[in-house]
């Protein structure tokens, strides 16, 4: 009995002692990304980008950064309940991440109850503009910016300008929005569209043969796709099998992931798209960032990772600037903040809480020698200025 008592005392002393060692109470940031399901790869890249920012920044308000990562499974209700867990159980003072617009909107609708600022690094819906004083976007280009980028890009590229485009999207909110915007803008700029009511494919589609047959039967020479990034190479591969790329060029509303491009190989050449960045961007900042990323995570640096990195840096810097964890103060600090990173200055507009930055038009093609062992590169064709993409402030 006595021995047991002594052991318990010793144990509790150790526990208390170790607690005392962790005198620095860390700042907890809740990271909500999809880690399972079809966009798991994108979620992992987002997480790694945020992780890299945390490793670089090291401390906020003098306290170490602790990232708490939860899997949203791309389900809005799961994401909200994980967010509640992060905030109420684990004590997170801000939420970052989120891939899908549906999840993002669900979180935004609950943000008053959650009581913390939320910065998404990937949600593309235009509903996020000025949605809520605590909701921000800094990362992936929004649907309207992408549409402008793609349309301007098509007009500026001789091989794309005169084609007729068949529009095929994934059947969910983002796909519909991306498709509709592109068609509306394209028609204004006299780009030929084959089907005004774009075709919708279920997100679980794996056999694209009937869609490909339909595209072939339409006799077009261009395809505009709005698919979840990880599915783009799947479609491209099957289209390649049917020989579509011999006559058609593909323009994509979302940048394909580099890992998938690698697996797709030759079938993934000739895909155009507007995106924040590609590792082909040649600037000292970008190259240094790519090198560090590759050394740490051992994969080809991706768009998802870099814009999550930038978004995270902006959030961390804003908390420092606010000097407190109070959501209103952080929100105030976020408005107008900017960060100079791999793709230039990324500024969060004080008007609508969303980012403005330069972007690039890329085409996928065979890569020349590079430090990442990549066989496919998204070659930068043209740079867009932030105010070209809008929206106006």
């Amino acid at each position: 009995m006595k021995r047991w008592l002594v052991a318990m005392l010793a144990l509790s002393l150790i526990l208390v002692g170790s607690g005392a060692w962790a005198a620095q109470d860390p700042i907890k940031i809740g990271v909500l990304v999809p880690l399972s399901g079809i966009v798991a790869q994108g979620g992992v890249e987002m997480r790694d980008g945020i992780d890299m920012a945390a490793k670089e920044k090291k401390t906020i308000l003098g306290r170490p950064i602790e990232l708490l990562v939860e899997d949203t499974q791309i389900k809005p209700d799961v994401a909200v309940s994980k967010a509640e867990k992060l905030v109420f159980k684990d004590g997170a003072i801000a939420l970052i991440g989120v891939f899908s617009s549906g999840v993002g909107l669900a979180l935004a609708k609950n943000i008053d109850r959650l009581g913390v600022p939320f910065l998404t690094t990937h949600v593309m819906t235009t509903e996020f503009y000025g949605l809520h004083k605590w909701v921000f976007r800094c990362g992936q280009l929004a649907n309207d910016q992408t549409a402008i980028g793609n349309v301007n890009g098509i007009l500026a590229t001789p091989t794309l300008k005169d084609r007729t485009y068949y529009v095929l999207v994934h059947d969910y909110a983002w796909g519909h929005d991306a498709g509709a915007r592109f068609i509306a803008l394209a028609k204004k700029s006299n780009i030929k569209i084959y089907n005004d009511s774009f075709d919708k494919a279920p997100t679980s589609t794996t056999d694209w043969s009937s869609y490909i047959s339909k595209i072939k039967a339409a006799g077009v020479d261009g395809i505009y796709i709005a698919f979840i990034t990880n599915v783009i190479p799947v479609f491209a591969k099957q289209a390649f099998d049917f020989g579509l790329q011999k006559t058609m060029k593909i323009v994509s509303a979302a940048a394909p992931g580099p890992v998938e491009l690698e697996a797709g190989g030759e079938a993934c050449y000739g895909i155009f798209g507007a995106s924040d960045w590609s590792w082909d961007v040649n600037s000292p900042t970008s190259d240094a960032w790519e090198k560090k990323y590759f050394e740490t995570y051992k994969t080809i640096p991706s768009d998802a990772a870099v814009h999550s990195y930038v978004g995270a840096m902006n959030l961390f810097n804003a908390i420092d600037k606010a000097g407190s964890t109070d959501p209103d103060k952080i929100a105030q600090a976020l408005r107008g903040i900017s960060f100079d990173g791999p793709y230039g200055t990324v500024r969060i507009s004080a008007k609508d809480n969303c980012a403005r930055n330069d972007a690039v038009l890329t085409e996928t093609m065979a890569a020349s020698s590079n430090p990442y062992g990549a066989k496919v590169v998204m070659k930068v064709l043209r740079t867009f200025k932030a105010d070209e993409l809008g929206p106006p402030e």
Binding site: L35, S36, E70, D71, K75, P76, D77, V80, S81, E84, K85, V87, F88, K89, S101, G102, L105, A106, K109, N110, D171, Y172, A173, H176, P202, T203
Partner: protein, 349 residues
Amino acid sequence: MMMENPASVLASEWPERVESTPADHPVGTKRLLTGCVFLLILGVLAAFPFMVPNRFYIRLVNEMMIYGLLAMSLDVLLGYTGLLTFMHNAYLGLGAYLAGLFLIHVSPSSLWLAFLAGILCTSLIALPVGWVQVRTGGLAFALLTLAFGMMFFTIAWKWYAMTGGDDGLMGVPHPDITLFGWVLGSSGRPLEMYLFTLFIVSVCFLLTWRIMHSPFGAVLEAIRENEERAAFIGINVRRYKLMGWMFACILASISGVLFILFRGYIGPTTMTAFSGAVILMMVLLGGMGSLWGPMIGAGIFIYLQDYISTKTEHWELFLGLVVILLVVFMPRGVAGLTEFLRRPERESR
């Protein structure tokens, strides 16, 4: 031998069920004891949100109660009537969608009308489906539930204009909880919603307990044990199966309305075949045929899922392992364990 009587596939092998023959029905002191246990648990649950005022935990237990109700309703079907369904969650989904649509489009502030709308409309759908389904039994019945369930799921997923498609029904208003005109609280606030859920679930539990331990329940059990014999003694098997089905679906739709009030959101993912199998597992975990067992099963499962998914991104692996171990080593579920305690003299068949 193979499939001549589909119903017998399930009926012939029920030894693992928790026994609930008329001999077990509590009489006298036993009834008092059971009643006390029930009140004790009720008391603990009611005191819980005050003892642990953390919003996350309150909502976690709230979710457990809602799924507990759904699991119990499945037990009515599976444990008592002997009908296996792959997609009972479809009726939670229907209840939630219909009540949600009512709250959004018709009247954002009437709680009880939303309940009525959810239950009534789901029943209107469950009736013809059930009528078709009870003409079969066993595995054929189960596959039919899969077919109809997948159909409902696909409609919820595709009918974008009405249901919001893949994104689901968002921003459903949270009406106030009223009783005879007195406003008791808002379904939007965790504490009040929790107590309201506890109230509704307890009432449903008591009701179901009473009904299942009545002649009606006995008939259902007779059908489960041997459909042919039940028919021979004059029971209209189809009608009773249908009644059991409707009762279970109504309970499920109640859990659906609670769900939409609780979450303010419903999406098609709640109506997939995989979610359906989860509910089955809850019933198994808790113990078929006990009514309260599945509720515990729901609680354990939700906790496990939450716990495991935080610890590792490979939570699927561990979840699968847990399920396998449970089925192999604990097929009678939690309720089966307690049965051992209550009746040590009874031999297992």
